[in-house]
Amino acid sequence: MIVSFIPILVVDVVGSVAMVVIALLCLNKARRLRGMDPANAVFLYLLWISTGFTIFAVSRSFGHILRQFLILTSNAETWHTLAPYSGSVNTVSFMLVGLITLFFKQSWHINEKILSSRKRLEETHIKLVDLNQTLEQKVVARTEMLTSSEHKARRIFEQSLDTIVVTDEGFRVSEINQAGVALTGYKKGEMLEKKMGLKDFMAKASEWERIRGLLEVDEYILNEETDFALPNFSQVRVLITGGVDYGAFGCGKTFHFIIKNINDKKQMEQQIAQADKLAALGELSAGVAHEINNPLGIILGYTQLMLKEASGFEEDLKTIEKHVQNCRTVVSDLLSFSRKGSPEKRRLDVARVIDNVIKFLSNHTDFRKVEIGRGPLPMLPLMVYGNEQELAQVIINLIINACHAVGKNGRIEIETGETKDRQVLITVKDNGTGIRKRHFSRLFDPFFTTKPVGQGTGLGLSVGYGIIRRHGGDITARNREKKGAAFTISLPSAPAEETR
């Protein structure tokens, strides 16, 4: 059968060239694919198989083209010589492709393992990132809580009205709040610089030893009362609570104390106790005075009757009469101290009452060498509701006492004023010897006197106290900062309607 050779020739030559070109394009694509994901074993497999196809295409195409060339150029014998070599290379090349192809399954498994490992790695990475973020959020939240807590603690420390002190192991101050600075009277810097300790604030060394002993034994103290000595030589009563803190994170042992100023509370308690005591004494005095007053009246009456007739005992009877009169004066004072109500009260200008008293006393010989001064006068008259004679008696008593305290060439000053809660104050100050601390609690007791026997009955202040209390007021005594004592009468201001 004779047929055209052209179709075979064209298909063979063009196909061979096309094979090489397409195989090279495949190789290029496979390389790109591998470049996109170098860890992908399947892509590596495709690169290998593309390489195999390229070798196969090149070897086969080269053989085919060479064969056609040699046959067409009448060199068939040469081709017969080369044909076995070309065929062998061709056989090896497509066997290589077949061999590589058979590895696809293995490549796939390897790739699956790689992908699985990568996925687990990514999941683990995501978990780690999540954990890290959670950790960061927790750290932020904890830091905020810590900052808030620290801020609260700092505010409590700074704003506390009670003293808060932190000391080291040797009770030296390391931290103290503003209330502590105000209480002790020392500046914070001064305390730290001088390494001041709690014992430096104590009025008595023995008190500190006692408190330190408690701290060493129990490691805490609860509501221990003691006195602090202030730099101005005054004392303040305080209540101390404290304990040990062994610290954390390597901090040293410290002591924390809360110190409460109970000076005002103590004074008020003393005043209440004093008032209660004086009220009880008043009741007692009233009963005693009433019981004694009647027999005294009878004794005096009979004595005066007997004096009207000559009996030869006139001198003795006059002595009895004199002493009975003295007794009646005392009883009268006692009744004044304990009397429940005043006979008559009216609106009084305090300044006028004081002026009358000063005018009256200036004629007395005891006051000629004593300077009696008036403090600054208020713009408006200070009006109170009371009995003029009784109030004058109280002021006279205070001035007489002051006169005795200052001695010769002393100075007495009388000040008046009004508080915001409408209390009219009358203060009698002197520059005398002052009042001894131990006498404060007994100042207003009936018959209490520091004067020599026979020079005073001890009823002046107690009668004055009784009068002021009946007027709804109060009377207090204190020592002045520099020298002398000061007695302050406080009375309710007369209502505005009544002053018009």
Binding site: M1, V3, F5, C26, L46, F53
Partner: protein, 150 residues
Amino acid sequence: MVLSWLFFLPPDVFATQLHAASEGIITHQVGHLFFLFSMVALIFTITGKALDTQKGWRLIQYSAIFFILWNLDAIAAHFFDNQIQVVKIENISLGQIRVVARNGSPVLAWIYYGLKLDHLLCVPALLFFYRGLSCLVSAQQQVTVKKETP
């Protein structure tokens, strides 16, 4: 003496086997069969891994089918002309050939003529492979873009 005798005057031991001339064509045919088998295996593996749902791998499967056909074509052609030698080609002129079937059958001659056009099978096979790789590259590019897009 014995050693020198063994060294200088060795007898024939026939340690190396002699190969017949037909061994070449049989090896070539086995190679084609091996290639064919590997392509069949590739088709089944792709199906077994459910990769044929992706266009790229499906095209590679088509490529394997064409390579199988090409191998069958080559095996048949080699069988006819090299192994049983029932057909041969004689060059008559530059543009004409004579296909000679031993039994004078024109059908066999035409079949052999058709088998000689094997590039019509292997070139599409490689083209499908190229197209398959192109699709896999595109798919991989999309995956990369997706990963990079937050």
